[in-house]
């Protein structure tokens, strides 16, 4: 059995009170409850405070470039689709720098679970607006307030028919853990947007601000109805829904590749005798 101590990593360098601590705790607990050992999955992270996440755990890790978590995660998943692949990114990382990759990962329905630590601000570079910052919010870099509209990642994902879309809140660890487990167990691509207070740079979207607004989606809500999901995704302001917002169980990218049916790409032999014969035959095609 896996226990929490198996996941003891380096000491985090996040600010005291940072929402990332709760996300880390919820994630470790989810893994223990799912009995997933550190070597059984890979985390791909980008750059930003969220990018440091896997260093504070123990697991296979690829901490790549800013914005490029999803392409790396896609490559890993295609090479070994028997392994759980989790991409961890921030809102600037995934919704700003890497926006194009998000669109196409959703289209592919590659079996990668994407956890976005969405604090609606740039933390690592000290307080500039992010794509999810609310319109009008003042920062040192946005002297007239944020002029662009706020990106709604949940609505965007549903519009693209993402196969799993959920929202969590770092202030509700138990709920977050449950949603993480659902995302991990989901077959295709899963987007989990996590509302995460930044205690240092975001003075608008604080713990209190979120607590007054978030509510658990009703039990009778049907996440498989796309239109009501889209309606749900547009709720923002006085009330912000958290939980599983949309599920569309469609075929994954990996399932559609014939030669991945019986084994992952890493288990395809490289240089056997049979392979040499194949190559000889292939060369004959040039005659």
């Amino acid at each position: 059995m896996v226990s929490l101590t198996d996941y003891q990593g380096n000491i985090p360098a996040w600010c005291p009170g940072c929402g990332n601590y709760s996300i880390l705790r919820a994630f470790k607990e989810a893994l223990v409850e799912l009995n997933i050992a550190p070597h059984e999955f890979t985390i791909v992270s980008g750059i930003g405070q969220a990018g440091k996440f896997p260093h504070y755990l123990r697991c296979n890790t690829f901490n790549g470039l800013h914005g490029r978590t999803l392409p790396v995660a896609t490559g890993i998943r295609l090479a070994n689709h028997k392994m759980l692949v989790i991409a961890v990114a921030g809102d600037g990382d995934c919704y700003g720098e890497g926006g194009n990759h998000l669109i196409h990962a959703i289209r592919r329905n590659i079996g990668v679970k994407l956890f976005v630590h969405n604090n609606q601000i740039y933390g690592l570079t000290k307080g500039q607006a992010s794509p999810t910052s609310m319109e009008g919010m003042f920062t040192k870099n946005q002297p007239f307030g944020v002029l662009s509209g706020q990106l709604n990642p949940v609505a965007l994902a549903i519009a693209l028919d993402c196969s799993f879309v959920a929202r969590g809140f770092a202030g509700d660890i138990n709920h977050l853990k449950l949603v993480m487990k659902e995302a991990i167990n989901h077959e295709g691509f899963a987007l989990l947007d996590i509302l995460q207070p930044c205690v240092t740079f975001n003075k608008v979207n604080t713990y209190d601000w979120y607590r007054q607004r978030v509510y658990n989606i009703e039990d009778e809500y049907n996440p498989e109805d796309r239109l009501s999901a889209f309606k749900k995704s547009l709720e923002w302001g006085d009330r912000i829904p958290i939980g599983i917002i949309y599920i569309n169980k469609r075929q994954t990218f990996e399932e559609r590749i014939p030669f991945l049916k019986d084994r992952p790409l890493i288990d395809h032999e490289l240089f056997t005798d049979k392979w040499t014969d194949l190559v000889k035959k292939a060369l004959d095609e040039f005659f």
Binding site: F62, R68, V72, G75, L78, I257, F259, F287
Partner: protein, 570 residues
């Protein structure tokens, strides 16, 4: 015997079909064949051509003089007229060119009418044209007829028969009407393989165990992806068309980290987007092979033309300092061999390796007798499972004597594989410690570099053993320089020196000695600033005393290059 056929016309007229079929016929007959193409960046219209040279003697480039010109449009009858050799002949169809030509070298053949009459379809005009060319040459019909049967058999007897009728009609017409035709078909060898350089790189990748190729379509590199996609099912190679070049290289890096040999391919502008990813591969010591097919730039440049102007870009691309290897093959067999070597070296030293080509080379086709994969390296450097488990304290970036650390495959044992684009410690975790930083730079670069350098093969030397004149080139100019040497060596002590293993430069002692001894050293490059000459000067101090540079987007032709060389040395 050494003939050149040129087929000119608009995009979409089937120039490629005619050219490919004729090239195939000549190679199966046992001739040496070289083809190259020039096309515009459009799907219909414009002016394109396909040039085929065939001979019973080995050769490796195009000439500027043509013997048979097939004009599918009016433009061809004008722009290529002066390229006809003394006994050259051109065919055209009045219905296509709309202008009759009063020149005894031009033969009007009703290609369209015959296509409709004998093939019951205008589309058969290509088959009629192939027939006409072979008829003018008085070339045996059997090979083409068997190709028709092989490629069209699936479509039913009627389709085959209509094609045969069209071919024979074109053949007989040209044979009867071309009174000036005096081509002689001489003896030939055994059937040869006809292979393009993009295909050769693709096949080289497959035979080197590549399992993952992600790229974004970009001329002239797309052919590699198309070839691999056509072989995906057969060889279980996963080809993914990424959303952009940034995704392409990052996916390939991800797949490589996870345990499969992976590759990407692009051209200048696309590679500009990949540069950050290149640096990522270097920092995380993740092996990757990059095919970089050059075309004229800056920016979009001449998208379908040729140039060798990204050499120094490839050498210097990427922020920070890290090792890399650059190969620039000059022929399909070199491309095949160097692709294997690229995979081996990138895996062995966990570094990025480039295969640098250009449009002229990528789209060219050559005959070769056979490809022998026996001497190729097929070493599996990655470890997994029990073997990985048996390493007590596994560290992905362990400091070692030669800088290379064991690279385990994640998920196959309980050992964790950790890496970071940030500077990292031996385990792969983020650090800012100055001592670790220095040690890591040494590990990644200084410790690996001497062994990497020792892997580089010497330049190819051809011609006089004690030359007065040395013609130096790299990559795609291999064939054209070799042909020029054949033209010039009759009365001169001349030799060629061709580099296909470019960076780091192979040990300089031997070749610099030859260069220093020669009276005239000429560096031939398809670029404006002489990038290779600069590289040689920077790395060895040697300066060539002349240069021939072409940068109009067009390749060198052997007869013209020989003339330029003559102009310098006489």
């Amino acid at each position: 015997m050494d003939y050149t056929i040129k087929i000119g016309g608009e995009a979409g007229q089937g120039i490629q079909t005619i050219g490919d079929s004729l090239a195939k016929v000549f190679s199966l007959f046992g001739y040496y064949v070289f083809t190259h193409q020039e096309y515009e960046s459009r799907i219909r219209g414009g002016h394109n051509f396909y040039q085929i040279r065939f001979s019973n003697r080995p050769m490796a480039a195009s000439k500027s003089i043509i013997d048979i010109l097939v004009c599918l449009d009016k433009e061809s009858t004008k722009v290529h007229k002066d390229e006809l050799s003394q006994y050259g002949m051109a065919v055209y169809d009045l219905k296509l060119t709309k202008e009759s030509i009063n020149d005894e070298r031009f033969l009007n053949i009703p290609l369209l009418d015959m296509a409709e009459k004998f093939g019951k379809n205008k589309i058969m005009v290509n088959t009629v044209a192939i027939g006409a060319v072979l008829g003018m040459l008085n070339f045996p019909q059997e090979i083409f007829l068997s190709i028709l049967q092989k490629t069209l058999g699936k479509k039913g007897d009627e389709v085959v028969q209509l094609n045969i009728n069209s071919f024979v009609a074109g053949y007989e017409f040209a044979k009867k009407e071309c009174l000036r035709c005096a081509f002689t078909i001489t003896s030939h060898g055994k059937p040869k393989m006809l292979i393009g350089v993009n295909e050769s790189i693709g096949m080289g990748a497959i035979t080197s165990g590549c399992k993952f190729y992600s790229a974004y379509p970009m001329t002239p590199s797309t052919g590699i992806m198309l070839f691999l996609a056509s072989k995906a099912e057969k060889y279980n190679i996963l080809v993914e068309q990424a959303e952009d070049e940034i995704a392409a290289i990052n996916m390939a890096i991800g797949a490589s980290f996870a345990g499969v040999r992976s590759m990407t391919g692009t051209s200048g502008g696309g590679f500009a987007l990949m540069v950050e990813g290149l640096s990522l591969a270097a920092m995380t010591e993740t092996p990757i092979v990059i095919a970089l097919a050059q075309r004229p730039a800056p920016a979009t440049g001449l998208p379908t033309k040729t140039e060798q102007a990204d050499l120094l870009f490839a050498i210097h691309a990427g922020h920070g300092e890290f090792p890399r290897v650059i190969f620039a093959p000059g022929s399909p067999d070199q491309a095949f061999y160097l692709t294997n070597k690229a995979f081996d070296i990138s895996q062995k030293y966990q570094i990025p390796v480039f295969i640098l080509t250009d449009q002229y080379l990528s789209d060219s086709q050559w005959t070769i007798d056979e490809i022998d994969i026996k001497g190729y390296k097929h070493t599996q450097y990655r470890i997994r499972g029990e073997k990985l488990e048996s390493i007590r304290e596994y560290k992905r970036h362990l400091f070692t004597e030669n800088g290379v650390s064991v690279f385990g495959i994640p998920g196959t044992s309980t050992r964790l594989i950790v890496t970071d684009s940030d500077e990292h410690d031996e385990e792969g975790h983020i650090t800012e410690d100055p001592d670790i930083r220095t040690k890591m730079v040494n590990k990644r670069f200084h410790r690996k570099w001497p062994s990497i350098k020792s892997e580089m093969g010497p330049p190819y030397f051809y011609g006089d053993n004690d030359p007065d004149i040395v013609i130096v080139g790299w990559g795609s100019t291999y064939g054209v320089i070799k042909d020029s040497i054949d033209i010039l060596s009759k009365n001169k002590k001349i030799a060629m020196m061709h580099f296909s293993e470019l960076y780091p430069l192979p040990d300089a002692e031997d070749y610099i000695k030859i260069l220093k001894k020669a009276k005239k050293t000429i560096c031939v490059e398809n670029n404006a600033s002489g990038q290779f000459a600069r590289l040689i000067k920077t790395e060895t101090g040697f300066e060539f005393n002349s240069a021939i540079n072409r940068y109009d987007g067009r390749p060198f032709y052997s007869d013209l290059l020989a003339r330029s060389i003559n102009g310098i040395i006489d």
